[in-house]
Amino acid sequence: MQNLLEIKNLKVEFHLDNQVITAVSGANLDIKENEVVVLAGESGSGKTITALSICRILPHNAGIVSGSINFAGREMLTLKENELIKIRGRDISYIFQEPVSFLNPVYTIGNQIMEAIRLHQHKNKKEAYEETIELLKKVKIWEGKRVFQSYPHQLSGGMNQRAFIAMSLACQPKLLVADEPTTSLDVTIEAEILELLMELKKSLKFSLLFITHNLSIARKIADRIFVMHKGKVVEEAGREELFKSPEHFHTKELINAYERIGRI
């Protein structure tokens, strides 16, 4: 199978007032088509920065210093901004830990999903509306019409995350990047969202890059797992292999924490 995404020797630096901090120093990662890759590590290990680098949506004081990111045969790091805009949200989309802080509070859920459809697929309002209701059904929101007209603050955390997933899948992306999407949710809701993501992956056929500090999620969904520590990818292995014979000490730490309090 071909690699959909290939990150090689990625290095990212942050420029603070009078110092430079290296957030990512030599990250290597690849994802095949239709594959679920989990990127695991503690907070501050560079997972999120690596993920944001793919679409070059880093904070303003961060810069990619070196490396290459190849997505579907194109070099993302040298792509012009107007080309990138066409990829963001269409071929690659993101979901985050707190959907509420990424949803616009003054637009209804429906309007925000429609925006993605109209922007990337050039459909008229009526077509976009129907497609939005369809999408909400796909993420198992049965009261589509009510949710369409709701504002983010009127919905629960789990409901907002479903709506956010609907929005990110609106343009049938090839790659979905999920950055701790279940961390702020209850365990029962977390289990539902994970199940939903795996179902959608099967029917819509996309690759999934899932970021988490909790190996119990990796155990459930991953094909392969990459472990990050202090800005570097320190280990890469298939799911069974990683749990059976971890090599790096940080992987062992993560597995140890998982075995004690990550599962019953």
Binding site: E42, S43, G44, G157, D186, V187, T188, I189, E190, A191, H213, N214, L215, E253, L254, N256, A257, Y258, R260, I261, G262, R263, I264
Partner: protein, 249 residues
């Protein structure tokens, strides 16, 4: 028995419209009864909105109950504010950003006359050491620390008044799993060292299983199941408990 809770309820009114007319009641807690034995850990587990935190606030005398009562055993709890402490979920907004670590830890010691002022210089670093922090943190401010370190500071502050009973309200939920495991070990170690009694609130069943002696499962303000930790995890009788356990497998 150190704490006895009898039919505790808390209702919050739903107010609507211009004149804030009461249109209904939210039953945040609905006739909750339980007791806690000394030197044990009671785990309270439930999803968000199940009433866990409301229960903690009432026990700590931070909000009054609507009906019901609770008693602390006076043989153990003499001075309530000294003997009963709390550790909150979010270590980022439970430390005063303008105070240095030394003053944060020293304040309860001074107020409750735990240590004379001249002894503080020795007592504060010693306490910080018991929670795994070096003495060189004394002059620093909370923002200079990571989430895990801040929670250690909160633990030291809670221990500063030499309490007997600590309510831990989701004390590790906002931290990485590896840090969570380390802090759990610290809680267990401190409990033995200082003969503490805990109420440990969490939505994470694995954490509850790890630390508790007895467990209460809450849903919509009610206790749906209670028992010894082994029984709850090995032969749950309620549908809701089974569902929670399944999600955490």
């Amino acid at each position: 028995m150190i704490l006895n809770v009898i039919k505790l309820s808390k209702y919050f009114p739903i107010e609507q419209g211009l004149f804030r007319a009461e249109t209904g009641l939210i039953r945040a807690l609905d006739e909750v009864s339980f007791s806690v034995d000394e030197f044990s850990t009671l785990g309270i587990v439930g999803e968000s909105g199940s009433g866990k935190t409301t229960l903690a606030k009432i026990i700590l005398n931070l909000i009054p109950p609507t009906t019901g009562e609770f008693f602390f055993n006076e043989d153990f709890i003499g001075n309530f504010r000294k003997d009963v402490q709390i550790i909150f979920q979010n270590p980022y907004n439970s430390l005063n950003p303008k105070m240095r670590i030394f003053d944060i830890i020293a304040e309860p010691m001074i107020i409750h006359r735990i240590a004379a002022k001249k002894h503080l210089k020795a007592e504060v670093p010693e306490l910080l050491e018991t929670v795994g922090l070096d003495g060189d943190v004394l002059k620093r401010y909370p923002h200079e620390f990571s989430g895990g370190q801040r929670q250690r500071i909160c633990i030291a502050r809670a221990l500063a008044s030499k309490p007997k009973f600590i309510v831990l309200d989701e004390p590790i939920s906002s931290l990485d799993l590896t840090i969570q495991a380390k802090l759990l070990d610290l809680f267990i170690e401190l409990k033995q060292k200082f003969n503490l009694t805990y109420i440990f609130i969490s939505h994470n069943l694995a954490v509850i299983k790890y630390i508790s002696d007895t467990v209460i499962v809450m849903q919509n303000g009610r206790i749906v199941e209670r028992g010894k930790v082994y029984d709850i995890f090995n032969r749950p009788s309620e549908q809701y408990t089974k569902k929670l356990l399944e999600s955490a497998m």
